[in-house]
Symmetry: C2
Subunit: 359 residues, 2 copies
């Protein structure tokens, strides 16, 4: 029997998508092959990858002057690739709202001057700091944010106004959860394993003019956006099956009504959970109301032993991966697109029962 999986990623996938993938495992379409057996140079695979890209473009309404790249290595590889490719003048602005934003900031220091505009570390990243635009470097190569923080459960309620400086956003844990205006960004990156597909593929959406010619440079070939852009992400073998799975997820999103429908469902699920947390005498949210993520909701009882008891009993009742990130403890419920409303309602019912028994 399938469990309710609240993992922060790799995360729950839509059951319909898993069923489709299982059904096509020995033969996709009329190809006589599994997608994972297809040569990446074959027409059959080309169709799979092009369909995935077309669906992503349609779903996110990506403007024509942006390229979609399929890379590997997760957001961590982007912490290196973004500065290696975008730092021309050698400086960039950073807002540090958690562990991933912090890593993006510290890795970038290897390549140039990384300017810390603001941080919310003083209160364990439980809010998004107000941004003082006088601290922005108007001459920076880019301005980096992590739009939704997976560990601490915050999200930017509005985007910083960076003027002519390209905004770069790590959207790993919020991509496809609601509509976004891609034209406001210079570059968006997101690993697949939260809202898009399995681990092993990382999507980069980059404004064409930011793709720098690095021919003849010492930058590792596989870390140049140019190589992916010039070769339709087929310079070498891409993670073909992972890209196919992303295509299936994107089809599922389209069938469900696209990102407007996703947003409405995600808001509904978040409301069920946060409303209960705000009314509970046992559990409480760790995040200031206006910065709460729609995707990742950390919460605590304030008693470590009770937290552990809750996580254990929840697992036994079929609600798994509710432990907080190993760096912070407590609990966290990740409620991505593929988590049904009913899953959150049942979790809340279970929490209420646990509260009655343990208060």
């Amino acid at each position: 029997m399938r469990v309710y999986n609240f993992s922060a990623g790799p995360a729950v996938m839509p059951e319909e998508v898993l069923e489709k993938a299982a059904g096509e495992m020995l033969e996709q379409g009329g190809s006589g092959q599994s997608v994972m057996e297809m040569s990446h140079r074959s027409k059959e695979y080309e169709t799979v990858q092009n369909e995935c890209e077309a669906l992503l473009r349609e779903t996110l309404a990506i403007p024509g002057n942006y390229r979609v790249l399929f890379t590997q290595g997760g957001a961590h590889m982007q912490f290196e690739m973004v500065p290696l490719n975008l730092m021309v003048k050698g400086k960039a602005d950073f807002v540090v709202t958690g562990q991933w934003a912090g890593k993006a900031y510290s890795e970038a220091k290897k390549y140039g001057a990384a300017n810390l505009v603001a941080s919310s570390e003083d209160k364990t990243f439980s809010y998004i700091p107000a941004l003082d635009s006088s601290k922005f470097d108007k001459d920076a190569d880019y301005f980096h944010i992590c739009q939704n923080n997976t560990i601490f459960g915050t999200r930017f309620p509005e985007l910083p106004e960076t003027g002519g400086v390209p905004l770069v956003a790590d959207m790993s844990s919020c991509i496809l959860s609601e509509p976004v205006d891609v034209s406001k960004y210079g570059l968006i990156y997101a690993c697949a394993q939260k809202n898009m597909g399995p681990a092993g593929v990382t999507v980069v959406i980059i404004r064409e003019d930011l793709i720098r010619d690095l021919s003849g440079s010492k930058v590792p070939v596989m870390l140049r956006y140019q190589i992916y852009a010039e070769n339709n992400s087929l310079y070498n073998t891409p993670p073909t099956f992972a890209i196919y799975m992303c295509g299936l997820v994107l089809k599922w999103i389209k069938e469900k009504g696209g990102l407007t429908a996703m947003k409405s469902l995600n808001e509904k699920k978040a409301a069920v959970l946060y409303d209960y947390l705000d009314s509970s005498k046992l559990f409480k949210s760790t995040v200031e109301k206006k910065f709460r993520s729609l995707m990742n909701a950390p919460f605590v009882t304030g008693n470590e032993k009770l937290d552990k008891k809750f996580i254990k009993e929840a697992k036994e009742a079929g609600f798994v991966n509710l432990g907080g990130h190993r760096s912070v403890g407590g609990m966290r419920a990740s409620i991505y697109n593929a988590m049904p409303v009913e899953g959150v309602e049942k979790l809340v019912a279970f929490m209420k029962k646990f509260e009655e028994e343990n208060l």
Copy 2:
């Protein structure tokens, strides 16, 4: 109906493995989740990855002083990672036996002195050059070979004697095809998508003393072997589903009798194909006999139009991906572990019929 797939990679997978994966797509073991939905920090996933590593260690008889790392980015990423991690004195020896060996050589030049020991480019890489050990640099950081050339269909009949210089081998297209003595190598790397699993994971087997401490260096974090070794390949999210599939393939190899059985089957398949090629008046192998690969067999008719006709008619008859690499043309049959003997026999029967009709 499934086809006979002679793709050079991504390549045919064992049907039993695909069936197993399809059956577990909605729930693996008693976990209530697909492997691709599992948190990479969960006990459930840890078991999957540890089993895959243990099977690889058993199958290849990997000595205890070697580490197994699961990386991303394919062999191409290794063309960068090997010099970035192993070049301490800043020099390495290379034998160029084809396109991949050539790329490994040219990328390494960015990081130090790459010494070309020998090349077989003069005869379109149709042989493995004799190695003059006086050209070896006794002080090199490593000696690099591509053990089996996927495009030109050659393989090293014996390993170079490099003395104290660590031998580094790209085994992407021959790993798991026959037993090897891992202790003769300093480092082995192989992308999965030929004999091991789906595209998206690249295995590195490295002797512990070669794992260099790069803390504080400018080397991108994700390109340091140290990071993978210290974190059991879990510094960030690994390509979990691809690793699971490799585990299923390794289980299949074990059930079939391990690498001794694989070698015997592969020799049988290669003999069926090469014996026919050597007797044919229409088709001929492009490789000198003693250097012929067990895995990739390129062949031509000598007439480009006829080559195209053959590839087209073969596809219609259910033998797919028989075109040669886009850089060389002609035909190529890749006959990896998962290609049954019957597939090669049927291909040869088809070729005989084509020969009768077109000679």
